[in-house]
Every structure is written in C-alpha cells, then in structure tokens.
C-alpha cells in the first residue's frame, strides 16, 4: 500500500502540470452552450497538438500509453486546473477504445485520428424512450437493404448528438430476436438525411441531452463494428469503459465544491453553527471516501484487470454526496442560494440528475447485489 505516486507517476504529473501552467484553457464561456462546446473542442485540439489527448490510448494509436493511474492523474490535474473535459470526451473514452477492441484495420484507420484531435465528435445511441434502464429492450431496427442497412427508431439521452459527426449506435438487425440477441453495433454517420437531433431540455433549463430520431438512416456494412449480431458484446465493451477516468475528474470537482462551500460558509460565519459544521463534515467525509475508493478501484483494476466492487460503488457515492452537498449549501446559505442561475441553485438541480444518469441508483444497486454480492435475481 502506497498512496504516494511512483517516480514515473510523479514525472508524468509534473510534465502535465508544466504544460498546464503554460497552457491555460482560457475563461469558461457562460450562457452560450455552443460557445462553451467550441471552447472545449479548442481545448482538445491544443491537448492533442501537445500529445495530451487520449493519454490512456496505446502509443500505436496516437495515444500516450499512459497507465491507469496516469490516466487518473490526467483527469485530476485537469480538474485541479479547472480545465474542462475535452470536447470529444465520448470519443476518447468510449468510441476510441471500443473501435480499438472490435474494429478492423480500416475502421481504426478511419476513426481513431479524428477522435484524438476532436475533429470528429462522437455521441452514444444506446438508450431508448421505452427501454429506459433496460438496454436489452432496444427496438431501433436496422434492416438489410442491398449492400447496407436502413435504420429506423428513436434514441434518447444522446449527449453531444447536436455536435456529433458519428454515433455509436445499437440497433436490432434480427427482427425475430429478443433481448440481448440479434443486436448490432453501428458506427453511424450523423450527417445524413434520416437523422434528426432534437434537444431535450433538462430541469436546469439547459439542453445537454438530445432525442435522436432515425427515419431511414443508412449505414454500410463497413460501418458495422464487431460483426452482425454481436452488438451486445460490443456495447458491453463500451459500457465497461464508461466512467473509468471520469471518476477522478468528478472526485476533484466534488472536492472543489466542498471547499467552495466551506469558504462561502466561513465567510458568512455559517460554520459557527455546529449543525452546519457537522453536516459539512459529513459531506466532506463522503467526498474523501469517494476519492479513496476510486483509488482502491484503480489499484484493483491495475492488479487484476477486473474492476472490483469499488467501481460499482463510486457512482453511488458520488451521486449521494453531491445531492447532500448541494442541499446543505442551499439550507445553510439561505434564500440567496435559491436564486435562479446562482451557482448553488444550479448545482442543486443538476445534482438530481446524478442518481439517474449513467445508470440509475436502482440499477446500480441491482448490479451490486447480483454481480458483486452474488444475490439471486428477482424472478
């Protein structure tokens, strides 16, 4: 057990810090979602130009070949510097690794480069309105049509779809199939008729998610990833890459929130109230445990190649801590914190999504019970 960095990890961090010291992402644009995304894409271009995009990708694919710990350090340092996530984060974390695993030479050749630079943004078309948390209930239909496929259906919660050139799309190619069988994973070109993106407004008022309407969209055989009928396995590769490095970004962001709240409370004398101080300590402890548990998960993954129970738990910890933190902020800071558009009221509303996005709390607890604890499934 050693919670300090090894010399090579320290060297990696120091090199990154040095680069970040010279390369400021610039001021965060507020209020204009397109300007904000353009800022993130620009940031990714600069990262890529300096070799800091896809740090965890193998060197042969243009990455830096970073270890898992180095990748965690990368996201922590980004958050520490209050830099944004790269614009094409789904491409870097999900599409890229999935294409590396399942793609043929041509697919790798075609896609990996533009993912790294952010030249081509990716979105993820898995969820559907009727399926919700039940991924195997995918209904979007891809029908054989000459030498390609015609795709019809609807996806939802597709973040970045309105910026995306490509979509990781899960569709049913065997109409007689049920559940996990008969699904195929497509690399769908978003720039065509038959693909319509409609923003979905969140309770915060923003539109970070979209509905995706597919009405006769086309895909070629060359755009099938991992083979016809193999979509479930390919999708599982994508999902297992989800949240990997991001946990460390979130974890630092949570700590920044705790510190910001502590500072704001201290300034107003709020910490003189032992009730508030106690609640702050509770939340700070949750955030610290999140950090530690994320590191434990990382070590486990490095040692065994398999995510341990920790990876299922950090999401639960994070969402719970963030909801508690933001409610505390609103309680302790009073009506000022409830002003529309204020930092804490935004965080309060946004936090409600934490127990829904990326696997609802209910689904994650099912997973923990069945896959980690080995409890029997509900019949």
């Amino acid at each position: 057990m050693d919670l300090t960095f090894t010399p090579s990890e320290t060297a990696f961090r120091d090199e990154l810090r040095g680069w970040l010291a010279d390369n400021d992402p610039g001021p965060e644009p507020h209020g204009d979602e397109h300007a904000h995304f353009a800022w993130r894409l620009d940031w990714q271009r600069r990262l890529a130009a300096a070799g800091w995009s896809g740090v965890h990708w193998p060197v042969e694919h243009g990455g830096r070949g970073a270890t898992l710990t180095e990748s965690a350090i990368f996201f922590e340092e980004l958050a520490n510097r209050r830099a944004p996530l790269p614009g094409n984060v789904l491409g870097l974390l999900l599409a890229g690794p999935t294409i590396m695993t399942w793609g043929d030479e041509a697919q790798r050749e075609r896609h990996l480069g533009p993912i790294l630079t952010g030249e081509e943004v990716w979105c993820q078309g898995f969820s559907e309105p009727d399926a919700g948390s039940d991924l195997a209930a995918v209904k979007t239909r891809a029908a054989r049509d000459g030498d390609g496929w015609t795709i019809t259906g609807q996806k939802v919660w597709t973040s970045y779809a309105h910026h995306a050139r490509w979509c990781m799309l899960l569709a049913r190619t065997d109409p007689a199939s049920e559940r996990h069988r008969g699904l195929t994973y497509f690399l769908l070109d978003m720039e065509q008729d038959g693909v319509e993106v409609v923003p979905l407004r969140q309770i915060t008022g923003e539109s970070h998610f979209n509905e995706l309407f597919l009405d006769g969209a086309r895909a070629t055989d060359a755009q099938v990833l991992g083979g016809e009928g193999n979509g479930w396995r390919v999708a599982m590769t994508t999902l297992s890459n989800e949240r990997s490095g991001l946990a460390f970004f979130h974890q630092v962001r949570m700590r920044q929130l705790v510190d910001a709240l502590a500072a704001e409370l201290a300034e107003r004398g709020g910490l003189d109230d032992p009730r508030t101080a106690d609640a702050l300590a509770d939340v700070a402890a949750q955030v610290e445990v999140l950090r530690l548990t994320a590191y434990r998960g990382l070590t486990r993954l490095e040692r065994t190649g398999e995510p341990g129970p920790e990876s299922a738990l950090t999401k639960l910890m994070w969402s719970r801590a963030n909801q508690a933190l933001t409610q505390l902020a609103v309680d302790a800071l009073g009506p000022d914190a409830l002003t529309a558009g204020s930092r804490w009221s935004y965080e309060l509303l946004r936090a409600r999504g934490n127990t829904l996005e990326g696997g609802t709390t209910e689904i994650l607890k099912n997973i923990a019970a069945q896959r980690v604890l080995g409890l029997p499934r509900a019949s």
């Binding site: 399926a131 939802v156 979905l200 309770i203 002003t339 009221s345 309060l348 209910e362």
Partner: protein, 335 residues
C-alpha cells in the same frame, strides 16, 4: 375528538380541486412559469369566488371561515401549483387582523377579501426581508422584524424582484428604511404562525401531487416487461412518499386547527408543521423525480416544478433549523 375535515371543509377542498384541475393544468403552470407569472386571469377568478377572503372575518367582508378552511384551500392551490397570490394575501391579512388597529383592519381587510387589493408578509432581518412571496404589485406589505410589524404601501417598500428556481410564483427581496410605513400596534407572532400553518398546507398539496403523479406514472411505465411500480424499490419509494405526505398533512392540519382553536398550542404546532412539511415536501418531490427515471429530469415532465416549489416555499417563513429550535425549546420546557 374528530381529526378530519368536516363535510363542508371537504366540499371546499373538492370544489377547489375540480376548479384548479380545469384552470391550472400542467400546461398552464408551465406557461405561467415560463412567462414569469403570475396568473392574472386565475387570480381574478378566485377573487370573484371570494377565496382571498376565506379566513377574513365576515365583518370585514370576508367569508369568515377559519384557518382550517384556508388550509384546505391552500393545499389545493399547492396541489395545482396555482399562480395566484393567496398565501401571501392570507398571511398579510392574518397580521392586519391580529396585530392591526381598527382603522388598519377597516382600511385593508375588505379590499383584500374582495381581491381589489393584494398584500404580502415578509420576515425581515435588519430592515430587509430576503424572500417574500408575491411582493411585486402588492398594495400592502407587512414586514415583521424582531417581534414587531409594520405595514408598508407599495410606494414605501423597496421591492427587488428575485428570480428564484421556482418561477411558478413570484418572489422578491423587500427592504424598507427604518421608520418607513406605519406600525401595526399588536404582536404579530400569532399571525406569522398562522401563515406558517398555511404555507405548510400548501406544501402538503405539493407532496400529494408528487405522490399522485408518481403513482400514475409508475403504474403505466413498463420496463423489463412489467410496470416499474411493481419493482419493490419503486413501490417502497412510493410508500415513503405516502408517509411523507401524510406526516405533513397531520402536522399542517394540526397547526391550522390550533390557529383556530388553541392559541397556546399554536407556536409549537406551527413550528412542527413548518419543519415536517418542509422536510416531507423536499423528500417527496425529489423522490418523484427519481421515480420518473430519466424522464423526471426533463423540463417537459413537469415534476421539477414541484421540487422547485418545495425548495423555495420551505424558506418563506424562516428556516427549518429555526423551527426545530422552537420545537426543542418546547420539548425541554415541558419536561
């Protein structure tokens, strides 16, 4: 011993439920919220019906009913998230009736009852009330400060609109220079408690709406081949929401009854109602979002209005922490 609404009171509640279901469907609530409210047409219609004067004595042209009837009405206004300033007017009327002079009563209560004037009440610290409902456009604003109240006209008060996360109602910050307005001669404490009882009743309606909408949704919505309400995690969440709603209802009705019939018990009952209703409403509305799944996080699903109302309305007459302090004090004193 009879701890339930009377047939007459239930009739008031049913009438309000039906009327508001017609006038304030979700589309209307959304339109009001997105348009910055308030719902002038609705306010006018409710004034026609005499609702603003429900608890104003008949001698001042009100309906002369009690806080329990007002609570029944407020519960339905909360259920519908109606954009009419009845809570604010009722709170101010309580203060003018309870702590005002004869002249102040005669000047204001008939107009408030008729809806030709509106008023509101705010709790001020250092000449500023940080969160006041429906103060913009109010003809009279009662500011309660250190146990004393003063009545300000629109011209005398400094009203700064406050855009909160709850746009189903207008809120403002209200300040007034020392000495501005005219004092209410009496003690406004009971009026604030009565207002807190009604605010709690409104939150009961919010809880109930969150519960009803959720039960309807999870009974319909299917996943993994069955209605999601048949999953125990969802079903138990709904049971917890029921528990929250009924807890809030018990406490709010008790406070309303105390306002009418047990002045000595009112301070404790009002603090209880505030604490329990605020906690219940926050929990139940957060649960409603969660039980709606990803859809619950979208603007169009409308459950977020309930959550936002619960968050802001809980603070109208002080913090939950302050209410808890009063409860602890009362418990220690009776020991």
């Amino acid at each position: 011993m009879n701890f339930d609404l009377s047939e007459d009171q239930r009739e008031i509640k049913r009438t309000a439920r039906d009327l508001l279901a017609d006038r304030c469907p979700p589309e209307r609530v959304r339109a009001v919220a997105e348009g910055g409210g308030p719902d002038g047409a609705l306010a006018a219609e409710l004034a026609e019906l005499g609702w603003p004067g429900i608890a104003i004595p008949a001698e001042h042209d009100g309906l002369g009913l009690g806080a329990v009837e007002a609570a029944a009405l407020l519960e339905e206004l909360g259920y519908a998230l109606a954009g009419a300033p009845l809570l604010a007017t009722a709170a101010a009327a309580f203060a003018i009736e309870g702590a005002g002079s004869d002249a102040q009563r005669a000047e204001w209560l008939p107009r408030l009852a008729a809806g030709s004037a509106t008023a509101t009440l705010g709790i001020a610290h250092g000449d500023v009330a940080a969160l006041v409902a429906d103060a913009e456009g109010a003809d009279a604003i009662v500011l309660v400060q250190d146990g004393r109240a003063r009545l300000l006209t629109a011209a005398e008060a400094e009203v700064s609109p406050l855009e909160t996360i709850d746009p189903t109602r207008r809120y403002a910050r209200v300040g007034a220079p020392p000495g501005a307005g005219e004092p209410l001669p009496g003690d406004p404490a009971a009026a604030v408690d009565r207002a807190a009882a009604l605010a709690a009743a409104e939150l009961v309606g919010v809880c109930q709406r969150a519960l009803d909408d959720t039960v309807a949704y999870v009974g319909e919505r299917r996943q993994f081949g069955r209605p999601i309400g048949s999953f125990q995690a969802v079903a138990h969440r709904c049971s917890d929401m029921l528990l929250a709603a009924e807890s809030a209802r018990s406490a709010a009705y008790f406070a309303a009854w105390s306002a009418d019939a047990d002045p000595d018990g009112l301070p404790f009952a009002a603090a209880l109602a505030h604490s329990v209703a605020a906690t219940s409403a926050r929990e139940a509305t957060a649960s409603a979002i969660q039980a709606h799944g990803g859809v619950g996080f979208t603007w169009e699903a409308d459950v977020h209005w309930l959550y936002k109302r619960a968050q802001v309305a809980s603070r109208l007459f002080g913090s939950v922490g302050a209410a808890r302090e009063r409860i602890a004090g009362a418990v220690a004193a009776r020991g």
